[in-house]
Symmetry: C2
Subunit: 357 residues, 2 copies
Amino acid sequence: MYGVILAGGVGTRLWPRSRASHPKQFTDITGSGWTMIQATARRLEGLAGSDQLFVVTGPSYADLVTQQLPQMPASHLLVEPSGRNTAPAVGLACLHVRRLQPDATVAILPADHVILQPDQFQAALRRAVEVAQENWIVTLGIEPTFAHSGYGYIKRREVLASAAEIPAYRVERFLEKPNRAVAEQFLSEGGYYWNGGIFVSRADRLLEELARQAPALYGCLERIDAALDSAQASQVLAEVWQEMPSISIDYAVMEGARQVAVVPLQAGWNDVGSWDALETVLEQDGAGNRIARGEVLLLDSTNNIVYSDKRLVALIHIDNLVVVDTGDTLLIGDKNNMQRVKEVVEMLRDQGRTELL
Amino acid sequence: MYGVILAGGVGTRLWPRSRASHPKQFTDITGSGWTMIQATARRLEGLAGSDQLFVVTGPSYADLVTQQLPQMPASHLLVEPSGRNTAPAVGLACLHVRRLQPDATVAILPADHVILQPDQFQAALRRAVEVAQENWIVTLGIEPTFAHSGYGYIKRREVLASAAEIPAYRVERFLEKPNRAVAEQFLSEGGYYWNGGIFVSRADRLLEELARQAPALYGCLERIDAALDSAQASQVLAEVWQEMPSISIDYAVMEGARQVAVVPLQAGWNDVGSWDALETVLEQDGAGNRIARGEVLLLDSTNNIVYSDKRLVALIHIDNLVVVDTGDTLLIGDKNNMQRVKEVVEMLRDQGRTELL
C-alpha cells in the first residue's frame, strides 16, 4: 500500500497559529509532540513504509515537508505548481505510484486531521485496502457524532459479504453539506457517514475513473506522465498545470464512480476545522478548561481553550473563551463564534497586513 | 511652593504591566505619552519649578526616577532605605525643604494618580497653598462620584471666610474606609470627600505636628537632620531608618492635627487602583471599548479594555473583558473581578515566580 498525503491547504481557520507561510498541517496544534503531517505519516507505520509515502503540496511548503518528513525519498515530494483542488493532486500521485507498482493500492489522506485512536484507524484502513484490492474505490466514512452541517455525507447501502470483523458497505450516494434539519434527519435515520476525504483504491482504478469521468483532467495527466522521465518533466508539469481543471476528487470521481464502498471509521477523527474543535481532542481539567499548550494560571475560570506560545496566561473569572497567543498576534474569541476567525483574516487581508496572515 | 512626590509604591494591582521592578508610577498606563510620575511633575508646572521638586522613593526605583525626571536636582531624590509608609517619607522631605526655605509650603503628591483636568487641579492646588500659608494643613478632597468603599472619607465643617472662588472648609474629621451602606449614606448626606492622599502645608507645620503627635518618629527625623550635612549622612539615615516607625501620614498627623482644611477637587482624579479603573480615564469607541495601547481588531466586541504591548489583538464576540498583554505575560479578566489580580500575584509569589512579579 502507498500513502498519499495531501498537504496543500492554507488552514486559515486556525489563524493565528496556522499561517499562510506555515499552515496547520505543519504545526503541532494539539501538543502531541508531532506536527499534523508527521502524525499522519506515523499513522501509516506498519502499513506503508517511508518508501511508500508520497506528499502532494504547493511550492511554498516543499521545504517544510522535507524538514518534517526527512525519511521520505525526495522524489516522492510532488510539488503542484499551483493549487487545483484535490483531483489533480490525487491524479498526479497515482501516476507516480502506478509507475512504481502497476497494481498498487493508494490511501489518500489529508495532512491536517487529528485521529485520537490510531489503532482503530489502522484496522479500518486495513479493511479498506482489502476491499480496494477487489477493485472497489473505498472511502472511510466517519461515524457522525452530531448533526454537523459543515461536512458532506455518505449514504450506505447493503453490507458487502465478508468474514471480516469490520463491515464494508456499498455506497448509495454522496450528499452535499446538508442544512441542520436535514443533517438531523440523517442521524435519526441512520446509515449515514461524514465524508472525511479519506479514500483507498488501486491507483490504476482511480486513473481509469478520471479518464472516464474527467477526460480533460486525465488528458493533462497523460501529458505529464509522458514527460516524467525526461529532462523536461518540471517544465511540462508547469505548462500543463496551467490548463489543469480545478476540481475536487469527490466531484471528479467519487460521486459518479462505479463500485464505491464505505468502511466505517470510529477512531476519534477530527479535522480541527476551527479552534473550538480542539474541545474534542484535548484533555480537560475539572472545570472544563483545555490547555493546548503553554502555562496557564486559572482563577474561577471554566470551559476555556488556551493555546499559548511562551507567555504565562492568567485568566480571572473567564468562561467559554478561546485564547490563542502567538509571537505577533493574540486572538481572543467566544467559543461559539470561532468560525468568524475567517472574517478577521479577511479584514487583515483587506488591510494589506500579509505579514500577519 | 515645593512639590514632594511619593513614588515608593509597588503597584501590584496593575500587574502584569506594573511590576515590582517597574511599578505603575514609572509607566505610561493611559497612553498619554508620559509616565505617571512625569505627569505628576508636569501638573506642577507654573507652581513649582524642577528645583522645587522632591521625590521620595525606594532604592530599587532611584534610577527610574533619575531617568524619568532628569531635570530634577540629584540631591532632591530622597531614597528611603526601606518602605516605612508615608509619614517618614513626608517627614524626610519636609526636613530637606525646611533647610532650603524655612517658611516653605509643600504639596505632597502620590506619583501614581491620573488627573484628567490639570487646570482644575492647579486651581485647587493654588487655593490650597493660600490656605496653607495661613497655617492650615490642607487636604484636597476628591468630590465622590459614587459610594466607593475602598477610600477613606473626609467630612467637612464650615466654609472658611474668603473672597476666593474656590471654597475651603474646616475638616470635621477623617473617616476610615466605610462599608458600602455607610458610603451611600455619606453621598446622600453630602459634605464628604474621598481622601486621595494629596496634602498641602507649610513644611515646618507638618514637622511640628509630627513632633507633637509622633514623637518617636520625629526623634528619628531629628537625628537624620543633624547628620544631613555631614559625611555620615547616608550611614545615619540607614541606621535610623531601621528604628523608624512605619505609619501613614493620615494616622500620624492628619487625623489628630489642629486646623485642618479641605479644598474640593473636581478634576477627573483617579488612582487607577485596578485595571477596570481605566474605564473612567480612557476614551471609548462607539461600542464601549477602550484601547489603552496597541493595535486591536474588534469583531462584535463591546465594553472591553485592552492594553497591548506590540502584538495585534483580535477579539471575536467578546464583552466586558480586560486584556493586558505584555512581553512575558497575558492577563485576561472579567472587568468586574479585576481586584482579583492581587490573588494572581500572590499565586505567582507562592510559586516563586518572582521574575513575573
